[in-house]
Symmetry: C2
Subunit: 265 residues, 2 copies
Protein backbone atom coordinates (compact mmCIF):
# COMPACT_ATOMS: atom_id res chain seq x y z
CA UNK A 1 0.00 0.00 0.00
CA UNK A 2 0.98 3.56 -0.62
CA UNK A 3 -0.14 4.50 2.89
CA UNK A 4 2.89 2.69 4.22
CA UNK A 5 5.23 4.96 2.30
CA UNK A 6 3.18 8.07 2.88
CA UNK A 7 3.05 7.46 6.61
CA UNK A 8 6.81 6.96 6.53
CA UNK A 9 7.17 10.40 4.96
CA UNK A 10 4.76 11.96 7.41
CA UNK A 11 6.99 10.74 10.20
CA UNK A 12 10.00 12.43 8.61
CA UNK A 13 9.77 15.61 10.68
CA UNK A 14 9.91 13.50 13.81
CA UNK A 15 13.20 12.12 12.58
CA UNK A 16 14.69 15.61 12.64
CA UNK A 17 15.26 15.19 16.37
CA UNK A 18 17.65 12.41 15.45
CA UNK A 19 19.95 14.99 13.88
CA UNK A 20 20.31 16.79 17.18
CA UNK A 21 21.01 13.61 19.16
CA UNK A 22 21.93 14.27 22.79
CA UNK A 23 19.40 15.95 25.01
CA UNK A 24 16.95 16.80 22.22
CA UNK A 25 16.63 13.16 21.25
CA UNK A 26 16.63 12.14 24.90
CA UNK A 27 13.68 14.45 25.58
CA UNK A 28 11.96 13.17 22.43
CA UNK A 29 12.32 9.57 23.62
CA UNK A 30 10.90 10.56 26.98
CA UNK A 31 7.82 12.05 25.32
CA UNK A 32 7.45 9.05 23.00
CA UNK A 33 7.69 6.74 26.05
CA UNK A 34 4.88 8.61 27.78
CA UNK A 35 2.68 8.68 24.67
CA UNK A 36 3.46 5.05 23.87
CA UNK A 37 2.59 3.80 27.33
CA UNK A 38 -0.62 5.79 27.22
CA UNK A 39 -1.61 4.12 23.94
CA UNK A 40 -0.54 0.71 25.20
CA UNK A 41 -2.62 0.98 28.36
CA UNK A 42 -5.59 2.41 26.50
CA UNK A 43 -5.57 -0.70 24.32
CA UNK A 44 -6.44 -2.79 27.36
CA UNK A 45 -9.63 -0.90 28.10
CA UNK A 46 -11.66 -3.29 25.99
CA UNK A 47 -10.35 -6.18 28.05
CA UNK A 48 -11.46 -4.32 31.20
CA UNK A 49 -7.90 -4.18 32.45
CA UNK A 50 -7.01 -0.90 34.10
CA UNK A 51 -3.25 -0.43 34.41
CA UNK A 52 -1.91 2.51 36.39
CA UNK A 53 -0.66 5.27 34.13
CA UNK A 54 0.55 7.40 37.08
CA UNK A 55 2.85 4.59 38.27
CA UNK A 56 4.19 4.21 34.74
CA UNK A 57 4.79 7.96 34.40
CA UNK A 58 6.52 8.09 37.79
CA UNK A 59 8.70 5.13 36.93
CA UNK A 60 9.70 6.52 33.53
CA UNK A 61 10.45 9.96 34.99
CA UNK A 62 12.80 8.25 37.46
CA UNK A 63 14.38 6.21 34.67
CA UNK A 64 15.08 9.19 32.43
CA UNK A 65 16.11 11.24 35.44
CA UNK A 66 18.59 8.52 36.33
CA UNK A 67 19.84 8.26 32.76
CA UNK A 68 21.45 11.71 32.71
CA UNK A 69 23.88 11.26 35.63
CA UNK A 70 24.44 7.70 34.39
CA UNK A 71 25.62 8.63 30.93
CA UNK A 72 27.60 11.61 32.13
CA UNK A 73 29.33 9.23 34.52
CA UNK A 74 28.36 11.09 37.71
CA UNK A 75 26.88 7.94 39.22
CA UNK A 76 27.55 4.30 38.48
CA UNK A 77 24.83 2.29 36.84
CA UNK A 78 25.26 -0.83 38.93
CA UNK A 79 23.03 -0.26 41.92
CA UNK A 80 20.93 2.57 40.52
CA UNK A 81 19.41 0.88 37.51
CA UNK A 82 18.55 -2.27 39.46
CA UNK A 83 17.15 -0.11 42.24
CA UNK A 84 14.91 1.46 39.62
CA UNK A 85 13.76 -2.02 38.55
CA UNK A 86 13.14 -3.05 42.13
CA UNK A 87 11.19 0.13 42.92
CA UNK A 88 9.15 -0.23 39.72
CA UNK A 89 8.15 -3.81 40.51
CA UNK A 90 7.30 -2.83 44.11
CA UNK A 91 5.17 0.09 42.90
CA UNK A 92 3.22 -2.18 40.58
CA UNK A 93 2.68 -4.71 43.36
CA UNK A 94 1.54 -2.02 45.82
CA UNK A 95 -1.05 -1.06 43.22
CA UNK A 96 -2.77 -4.34 44.08
CA UNK A 97 -3.30 -3.36 47.72
CA UNK A 98 -6.79 -2.12 46.93
CA UNK A 99 -7.46 -5.80 46.46
CA UNK A 100 -11.19 -5.61 45.80
CA UNK A 101 -10.91 -2.97 43.11
CA UNK A 102 -7.91 -4.30 41.24
CA UNK A 103 -7.02 -7.39 39.30
CA UNK A 104 -3.60 -8.99 38.99
CA UNK A 105 -3.75 -8.01 35.33
CA UNK A 106 -3.88 -4.33 36.25
CA UNK A 107 -0.49 -4.60 37.94
CA UNK A 108 1.06 -6.92 35.38
CA UNK A 109 0.03 -4.79 32.41
CA UNK A 110 1.41 -1.74 34.21
CA UNK A 111 4.73 -3.54 34.61
CA UNK A 112 4.76 -4.86 31.05
CA UNK A 113 4.03 -1.41 29.63
CA UNK A 114 6.86 0.19 31.59
CA UNK A 115 9.39 -2.38 30.41
CA UNK A 116 8.13 -2.90 26.88
CA UNK A 117 7.56 0.75 25.98
CA UNK A 118 9.35 2.98 28.50
CA UNK A 119 12.46 0.91 29.15
CA UNK A 120 12.96 -0.19 25.53
CA UNK A 121 12.58 3.38 24.25
CA UNK A 122 15.02 4.56 26.93
CA UNK A 123 17.79 2.74 25.05
CA UNK A 124 17.25 5.06 22.11
CA UNK A 125 17.77 8.09 24.31
CA UNK A 126 20.85 6.60 25.97
CA UNK A 127 22.29 5.69 22.57
CA UNK A 128 21.96 9.27 21.38
CA UNK A 129 23.87 10.46 24.44
CA UNK A 130 26.91 8.40 23.47
CA UNK A 131 29.58 10.94 22.47
CA UNK A 132 31.53 8.68 20.17
CA UNK A 133 28.86 6.52 18.56
CA UNK A 134 25.69 8.55 19.13
CA UNK A 135 25.28 8.92 15.38
CA UNK A 136 24.48 5.20 15.19
CA UNK A 137 21.07 6.07 16.60
CA UNK A 138 20.19 6.40 12.93
CA UNK A 139 20.76 2.68 12.51
CA UNK A 140 17.92 1.93 14.92
CA UNK A 141 15.60 3.83 12.60
CA UNK A 142 17.18 2.71 9.32
CA UNK A 143 16.98 -0.98 10.22
CA UNK A 144 13.40 -0.68 11.46
CA UNK A 145 11.93 1.39 8.62
CA UNK A 146 14.32 -0.06 6.03
CA UNK A 147 13.24 -3.59 6.88
CA UNK A 148 9.61 -2.59 6.74
CA UNK A 149 9.80 -0.94 3.33
CA UNK A 150 12.17 -3.45 1.70
CA UNK A 151 10.17 -6.38 3.05
CA UNK A 152 7.04 -4.85 1.59
CA UNK A 153 8.47 -4.49 -1.90
CA UNK A 154 10.20 -7.87 -1.83
CA UNK A 155 7.00 -9.46 -0.57
CA UNK A 156 4.82 -7.83 -3.24
CA UNK A 157 7.12 -8.80 -6.09
CA UNK A 158 8.37 -12.24 -4.96
CA UNK A 159 6.33 -13.30 -1.95
CA UNK A 160 5.09 -16.88 -2.06
CA UNK A 161 5.66 -18.72 1.21
CA UNK A 162 3.77 -17.44 4.25
CA UNK A 163 5.93 -16.48 7.24
CA UNK A 164 3.43 -16.71 10.09
CA UNK A 165 -0.10 -16.69 8.67
CA UNK A 166 -1.69 -16.87 12.11
CA UNK A 167 -0.24 -13.59 13.37
CA UNK A 168 0.21 -11.57 10.20
CA UNK A 169 -1.28 -13.20 7.10
CA UNK A 170 0.42 -11.00 4.49
CA UNK A 171 4.02 -11.57 5.56
CA UNK A 172 6.15 -13.94 3.49
CA UNK A 173 9.59 -15.50 3.85
CA UNK A 174 10.65 -13.79 0.63
CA UNK A 175 9.61 -10.46 2.07
CA UNK A 176 11.50 -11.17 5.29
CA UNK A 177 14.64 -12.05 3.36
CA UNK A 178 14.26 -8.91 1.26
CA UNK A 179 13.85 -6.89 4.43
CA UNK A 180 17.02 -8.26 5.99
CA UNK A 181 19.07 -7.77 2.83
CA UNK A 182 17.68 -4.29 2.31
CA UNK A 183 18.37 -3.27 5.91
CA UNK A 184 21.93 -4.58 5.65
CA UNK A 185 22.57 -2.62 2.47
CA UNK A 186 21.03 0.58 3.85
CA UNK A 187 22.99 0.23 7.10
CA UNK A 188 26.15 -0.47 5.13
CA UNK A 189 25.58 2.64 3.01
CA UNK A 190 25.03 4.69 6.14
CA UNK A 191 28.27 3.36 7.53
CA UNK A 192 30.11 4.00 4.28
CA UNK A 193 29.10 7.66 4.20
CA UNK A 194 29.20 8.55 7.89
CA UNK A 195 31.34 6.07 9.81
CA UNK A 196 33.59 4.47 7.21
CA UNK A 197 35.79 2.68 9.74
CA UNK A 198 32.95 0.63 11.15
CA UNK A 199 31.02 -0.05 7.95
CA UNK A 200 31.13 -3.79 8.50
CA UNK A 201 29.83 -3.34 12.04
CA UNK A 202 27.00 -1.24 10.62
CA UNK A 203 26.06 -4.09 8.29
CA UNK A 204 26.10 -6.57 11.15
CA UNK A 205 23.87 -4.23 13.15
CA UNK A 206 21.64 -3.99 10.08
CA UNK A 207 21.38 -7.78 9.97
CA UNK A 208 20.63 -8.23 13.68
CA UNK A 209 18.40 -5.17 13.85
CA UNK A 210 16.39 -6.26 10.83
CA UNK A 211 15.54 -9.62 12.35
CA UNK A 212 14.60 -8.19 15.73
CA UNK A 213 12.64 -5.43 14.03
CA UNK A 214 10.33 -8.04 12.51
CA UNK A 215 9.83 -9.53 15.95
CA UNK A 216 8.95 -6.05 17.18
CA UNK A 217 6.40 -5.68 14.40
CA UNK A 218 4.87 -9.08 15.13
CA UNK A 219 4.83 -8.46 18.89
CA UNK A 220 2.81 -5.29 18.34
CA UNK A 221 0.46 -7.27 16.07
CA UNK A 222 -0.02 -9.87 18.78
CA UNK A 223 -0.82 -7.27 21.42
CA UNK A 224 -3.28 -5.54 19.13
CA UNK A 225 -4.89 -8.81 18.14
CA UNK A 226 -5.31 -9.81 21.78
CA UNK A 227 -6.70 -6.37 22.58
CA UNK A 228 -9.07 -6.61 19.63
CA UNK A 229 -7.93 -3.33 18.06
CA UNK A 230 -6.50 -2.54 14.65
CA UNK A 231 -4.31 0.41 15.60
CA UNK A 232 -2.99 1.70 18.89
CA UNK A 233 -4.15 5.21 18.16
CA UNK A 234 -5.04 7.81 15.65
CA UNK A 235 -2.27 10.35 16.18
CA UNK A 236 -1.55 10.65 12.49
CA UNK A 237 -5.05 10.38 10.97
CA UNK A 238 -5.33 7.16 9.01
CA UNK A 239 -1.84 6.04 9.99
CA UNK A 240 -2.23 4.84 13.55
CA UNK A 241 -0.64 5.92 16.79
CA UNK A 242 2.89 6.44 17.94
CA UNK A 243 3.28 2.78 18.91
CA UNK A 244 2.15 1.65 15.47
CA UNK A 245 4.99 3.67 13.99
CA UNK A 246 7.65 2.83 16.53
CA UNK A 247 6.84 -0.79 17.33
CA UNK A 248 9.95 -1.98 15.50
CA UNK A 249 12.22 0.83 16.71
CA UNK A 250 11.43 -0.21 20.30
CA UNK A 251 13.21 -3.48 19.50
CA UNK A 252 16.01 -2.23 17.26
CA UNK A 253 17.17 0.59 19.57
CA UNK A 254 18.32 -1.77 22.37
CA UNK A 255 20.09 -3.98 19.82
CA UNK A 256 22.11 -1.04 18.48
CA UNK A 257 22.70 0.22 22.03
CA UNK A 258 24.10 -3.10 23.29
CA UNK A 259 26.14 -3.61 20.14
CA UNK A 260 27.75 -0.22 20.72
CA UNK A 261 28.27 -0.69 24.45
CA UNK A 262 29.54 -4.25 24.38
CA UNK A 263 31.34 -4.53 21.07
CA UNK A 264 32.28 -1.10 19.76
CA UNK A 265 33.18 0.63 23.04
CA UNK B 1 -0.30 -19.68 66.68
CA UNK B 2 2.52 -21.92 67.74
CA UNK B 3 2.90 -23.12 64.18
CA UNK B 4 4.39 -19.76 63.31
CA UNK B 5 7.20 -20.27 65.81
CA UNK B 6 7.64 -23.96 65.06
CA UNK B 7 7.89 -23.33 61.34
CA UNK B 8 10.45 -20.66 62.11
CA UNK B 9 12.53 -23.24 63.98
CA UNK B 10 12.13 -25.80 61.22
CA UNK B 11 13.64 -23.29 58.83
CA UNK B 12 16.68 -22.87 61.07
CA UNK B 13 18.84 -25.42 59.20
CA UNK B 14 18.26 -23.46 56.02
CA UNK B 15 19.69 -20.43 57.75
CA UNK B 16 22.97 -22.26 58.18
CA UNK B 17 23.85 -21.34 54.61
CA UNK B 18 23.81 -17.74 55.78
CA UNK B 19 26.85 -18.46 57.93
CA UNK B 20 28.86 -19.45 54.90
CA UNK B 21 27.81 -16.40 52.87
CA UNK B 22 29.62 -16.12 49.53
CA UNK B 23 29.11 -18.85 46.98
CA UNK B 24 27.22 -21.19 49.30
CA UNK B 25 24.57 -18.59 49.97
CA UNK B 26 24.64 -17.55 46.31
CA UNK B 27 23.90 -21.13 45.25
CA UNK B 28 21.22 -21.37 47.92
CA UNK B 29 19.52 -18.24 46.58
CA UNK B 30 19.66 -19.66 43.08
CA UNK B 31 17.89 -22.82 44.22
CA UNK B 32 15.34 -20.84 46.23
CA UNK B 33 14.68 -18.69 43.15
CA UNK B 34 13.99 -21.76 41.03
CA UNK B 35 11.75 -23.36 43.65
CA UNK B 36 10.00 -20.09 44.37
CA UNK B 37 9.22 -19.41 40.73
CA UNK B 38 7.92 -22.96 40.36
CA UNK B 39 5.55 -22.46 43.27
CA UNK B 40 4.52 -19.03 42.02
CA UNK B 41 3.68 -20.31 38.55
CA UNK B 42 1.91 -23.39 39.90
CA UNK B 43 -0.38 -21.07 41.85
CA UNK B 44 -1.75 -19.75 38.57
CA UNK B 45 -2.90 -23.16 37.37
CA UNK B 46 -6.32 -22.65 38.90
CA UNK B 47 -6.70 -19.44 36.92
CA UNK B 48 -5.83 -21.37 33.76
CA UNK B 49 -2.76 -19.21 33.22
CA UNK B 50 0.24 -21.15 31.98
CA UNK B 51 3.48 -19.20 32.41
CA UNK B 52 6.67 -20.55 30.91
CA UNK B 53 8.88 -22.13 33.54
CA UNK B 54 11.69 -22.85 31.01
CA UNK B 55 11.96 -19.15 30.10
CA UNK B 56 12.09 -18.27 33.79
CA UNK B 57 14.78 -20.87 34.48
CA UNK B 58 16.82 -19.70 31.51
CA UNK B 59 16.52 -16.09 32.56
CA UNK B 60 17.49 -16.79 36.17
CA UNK B 61 20.46 -18.94 35.10
CA UNK B 62 21.68 -15.99 33.03
CA UNK B 63 21.11 -13.59 35.93
CA UNK B 64 23.05 -15.67 38.45
CA UNK B 65 25.67 -16.47 35.84
CA UNK B 66 26.08 -12.75 35.25
CA UNK B 67 26.20 -12.02 38.97
CA UNK B 68 29.54 -13.75 39.54
CA UNK B 69 31.67 -11.71 37.11
CA UNK B 70 29.70 -8.66 38.21
CA UNK B 71 30.51 -8.89 41.88
CA UNK B 72 34.09 -9.95 41.29
CA UNK B 73 34.40 -6.83 39.11
CA UNK B 74 35.40 -8.69 35.93
CA UNK B 75 32.62 -7.03 33.97
CA UNK B 76 30.77 -3.80 34.58
CA UNK B 77 27.14 -3.99 35.53
CA UNK B 78 25.97 -1.14 33.36
CA UNK B 79 25.16 -2.76 30.03
CA UNK B 80 25.00 -6.36 31.20
CA UNK B 81 22.23 -6.14 33.74
CA UNK B 82 20.02 -4.06 31.47
CA UNK B 83 20.79 -6.45 28.62
CA UNK B 84 19.53 -9.22 30.88
CA UNK B 85 16.32 -7.26 31.46
CA UNK B 86 15.89 -6.59 27.76
CA UNK B 87 16.49 -10.24 26.84
CA UNK B 88 14.10 -11.41 29.56
CA UNK B 89 11.29 -9.15 28.36
CA UNK B 90 11.92 -10.21 24.74
CA UNK B 91 11.85 -13.90 25.71
CA UNK B 92 8.51 -13.46 27.47
CA UNK B 93 7.08 -11.61 24.48
CA UNK B 94 8.32 -14.26 22.03
CA UNK B 95 6.43 -16.79 24.15
CA UNK B 96 3.26 -15.20 22.76
CA UNK B 97 4.12 -16.06 19.17
CA UNK B 98 2.07 -19.22 19.38
CA UNK B 99 -0.80 -16.78 19.45
CA UNK B 100 -3.66 -19.26 19.42
CA UNK B 101 -2.33 -21.35 22.29
CA UNK B 102 -1.21 -18.58 24.60
CA UNK B 103 -2.77 -15.72 26.45
CA UNK B 104 -1.18 -12.38 27.28
CA UNK B 105 -1.38 -13.46 30.92
CA UNK B 106 0.95 -16.39 30.23
CA UNK B 107 3.70 -13.99 29.20
CA UNK B 108 2.98 -11.37 31.84
CA UNK B 109 2.94 -13.88 34.69
CA UNK B 110 6.21 -15.32 33.40
CA UNK B 111 7.73 -11.85 33.51
CA UNK B 112 6.27 -11.01 36.92
CA UNK B 113 7.55 -14.28 38.41
CA UNK B 114 11.08 -13.67 37.13
CA UNK B 115 11.23 -10.17 38.59
CA UNK B 116 9.28 -10.76 41.78
CA UNK B 117 10.90 -14.05 42.78
CA UNK B 118 14.12 -14.55 40.81
CA UNK B 119 15.37 -10.97 40.64
CA UNK B 120 14.38 -10.03 44.20
CA UNK B 121 16.04 -13.17 45.60
CA UNK B 122 19.15 -12.43 43.53
CA UNK B 123 19.80 -9.41 45.77
CA UNK B 124 20.25 -11.76 48.72
CA UNK B 125 22.93 -13.71 46.85
CA UNK B 126 24.69 -10.53 45.72
CA UNK B 127 24.60 -9.14 49.24
CA UNK B 128 26.30 -12.26 50.59
CA UNK B 129 29.09 -11.82 48.03
CA UNK B 130 29.98 -8.39 49.41
CA UNK B 131 33.38 -8.83 51.06
CA UNK B 132 33.08 -6.01 53.52
CA UNK B 133 29.40 -6.03 54.46
CA UNK B 134 28.30 -9.54 53.45
CA UNK B 135 27.50 -10.31 57.06
CA UNK B 136 24.58 -7.89 56.84
CA UNK B 137 22.76 -10.56 54.88
CA UNK B 138 21.59 -11.61 58.34
CA UNK B 139 19.68 -8.36 58.60
CA UNK B 140 17.49 -9.35 55.65
CA UNK B 141 16.43 -12.41 57.63
CA UNK B 142 16.34 -10.77 61.05
CA UNK B 143 14.12 -7.95 59.89
CA UNK B 144 11.77 -10.29 58.02
CA UNK B 145 11.37 -12.99 60.66
CA UNK B 146 11.83 -10.56 63.56
CA UNK B 147 9.00 -8.38 62.28
CA UNK B 148 6.81 -11.41 61.79
CA UNK B 149 7.32 -12.80 65.30
CA UNK B 150 7.29 -9.48 67.16
CA UNK B 151 4.22 -8.31 65.27
CA UNK B 152 2.49 -11.53 66.20
CA UNK B 153 3.14 -11.15 69.92
CA UNK B 154 2.43 -7.43 69.96
CA UNK B 155 -0.77 -8.05 68.02
CA UNK B 156 -1.95 -10.83 70.32
CA UNK B 157 -1.33 -8.85 73.47
CA UNK B 158 -2.24 -5.33 72.40
CA UNK B 159 -3.87 -5.54 68.97
CA UNK B 160 -7.03 -3.45 68.62
CA UNK B 161 -7.11 -1.45 65.39
CA UNK B 162 -7.23 -3.42 62.16
CA UNK B 163 -4.42 -2.67 59.70
CA UNK B 164 -5.95 -3.86 56.41
CA UNK B 165 -8.91 -6.13 57.16
CA UNK B 166 -9.61 -6.75 53.49
CA UNK B 167 -6.24 -8.36 52.74
CA UNK B 168 -5.24 -9.88 56.05
CA UNK B 169 -7.97 -9.71 58.71
CA UNK B 170 -5.82 -10.54 61.74
CA UNK B 171 -3.20 -7.84 61.33
CA UNK B 172 -3.40 -4.78 63.59
CA UNK B 173 -1.65 -1.43 63.77
CA UNK B 174 -0.40 -2.31 67.25
CA UNK B 175 1.11 -5.51 65.86
CA UNK B 176 2.74 -3.59 63.01
CA UNK B 177 4.24 -1.08 65.45
CA UNK B 178 5.49 -3.93 67.64
CA UNK B 179 7.01 -5.57 64.57
CA UNK B 180 8.88 -2.43 63.55
CA UNK B 181 10.17 -1.76 67.08
CA UNK B 182 11.13 -5.40 67.58
CA UNK B 183 12.96 -5.55 64.23
CA UNK B 184 14.84 -2.35 65.06
CA UNK B 185 15.92 -3.71 68.44
CA UNK B 186 16.96 -7.07 67.01
CA UNK B 187 18.87 -5.40 64.17
CA UNK B 188 20.50 -3.05 66.64
CA UNK B 189 21.55 -5.99 68.82
CA UNK B 190 22.97 -7.74 65.80
CA UNK B 191 24.92 -4.61 64.94
CA UNK B 192 26.13 -4.21 68.53
CA UNK B 193 27.57 -7.71 68.65
CA UNK B 194 28.88 -8.12 65.11
CA UNK B 195 29.37 -4.74 63.48
CA UNK B 196 29.64 -2.26 66.35
CA UNK B 197 30.71 0.64 64.17
CA UNK B 198 27.55 0.63 62.11
CA UNK B 199 25.03 -0.22 64.84
CA UNK B 200 22.93 2.84 64.06
CA UNK B 201 22.88 1.90 60.37
CA UNK B 202 21.71 -1.57 61.38
CA UNK B 203 18.81 -0.05 63.31
CA UNK B 204 17.87 2.12 60.34
CA UNK B 205 17.96 -0.97 58.13
CA UNK B 206 15.82 -2.72 60.74
CA UNK B 207 13.28 0.10 60.53
CA UNK B 208 13.13 0.23 56.72
CA UNK B 209 13.32 -3.54 56.33
CA UNK B 210 10.54 -4.10 58.83
CA UNK B 211 8.11 -1.88 56.97
CA UNK B 212 8.90 -3.36 53.57
CA UNK B 213 8.77 -6.85 55.06
CA UNK B 214 5.11 -6.30 55.92
CA UNK B 215 4.47 -5.22 52.36
CA UNK B 216 6.15 -8.43 51.24
CA UNK B 217 3.90 -10.44 53.50
CA UNK B 218 0.78 -8.66 52.26
CA UNK B 219 1.84 -8.94 48.61
CA UNK B 220 2.11 -12.70 48.97
CA UNK B 221 -1.32 -12.74 50.63
CA UNK B 222 -2.77 -10.80 47.72
CA UNK B 223 -1.29 -13.17 45.14
CA UNK B 224 -2.57 -16.20 47.05
CA UNK B 225 -5.99 -14.67 47.49
CA UNK B 226 -6.24 -13.91 43.78
CA UNK B 227 -5.04 -17.41 42.97
CA UNK B 228 -7.56 -18.86 45.41
CA UNK B 229 -4.98 -20.84 47.37
CA UNK B 230 -4.03 -20.81 51.04
CA UNK B 231 -0.37 -21.72 50.70
CA UNK B 232 2.06 -21.73 47.81
CA UNK B 233 3.18 -25.25 48.54
CA UNK B 234 3.62 -28.01 51.02
CA UNK B 235 7.39 -28.26 51.18
CA UNK B 236 7.45 -28.29 54.98
CA UNK B 237 4.32 -30.34 55.77
CA UNK B 238 1.76 -28.11 57.42
CA UNK B 239 3.91 -25.02 57.04
CA UNK B 240 3.56 -24.07 53.39
CA UNK B 241 6.04 -23.74 50.58
CA UNK B 242 9.29 -21.93 50.15
CA UNK B 243 7.54 -18.75 49.04
CA UNK B 244 5.32 -18.77 52.13
CA UNK B 245 8.46 -18.71 54.24
CA UNK B 246 10.46 -16.26 52.21
CA UNK B 247 7.77 -13.84 51.03
CA UNK B 248 9.10 -11.12 53.33
CA UNK B 249 12.78 -11.86 52.76
CA UNK B 250 12.21 -11.29 49.03
CA UNK B 251 11.43 -7.69 49.94
CA UNK B 252 13.93 -7.09 52.75
CA UNK B 253 16.96 -8.45 50.89
CA UNK B 254 16.94 -5.72 48.21
CA UNK B 255 16.47 -3.04 50.90
CA UNK B 256 19.56 -4.21 52.78
CA UNK B 257 21.45 -4.62 49.49
CA UNK B 258 20.75 -1.06 48.31
CA UNK B 259 21.40 0.38 51.74
CA UNK B 260 24.82 -1.26 51.72
CA UNK B 261 25.62 -0.33 48.12
CA UNK B 262 24.42 3.25 48.19
CA UNK B 263 25.00 4.36 51.78
CA UNK B 264 27.59 2.14 53.44
CA UNK B 265 29.96 1.53 50.51
Amino acid sequence: MKTRIISGLIMAPLLVILVFKGYVLYAGCFVISLMGMYEFYRGFRELEIKPSYPIAVGSVICLYGLGIPLCTGIIEASPWITLWMFATVIACLLYLFKINERKLDDAMVTLTGIFYVGFFCFHMGMLGMNEKFGILVWLAVITAFGTDICAYFAGVTMGKHKLCPVISPKKTWEGAAGGVIGAMILSGLFGYFFEGEIMVHCMIIGFLGSIISMFGDLTASIFKRKMGIKDYGNLIPGHGGILDRFDSVLFTAPVVYYYVELILM
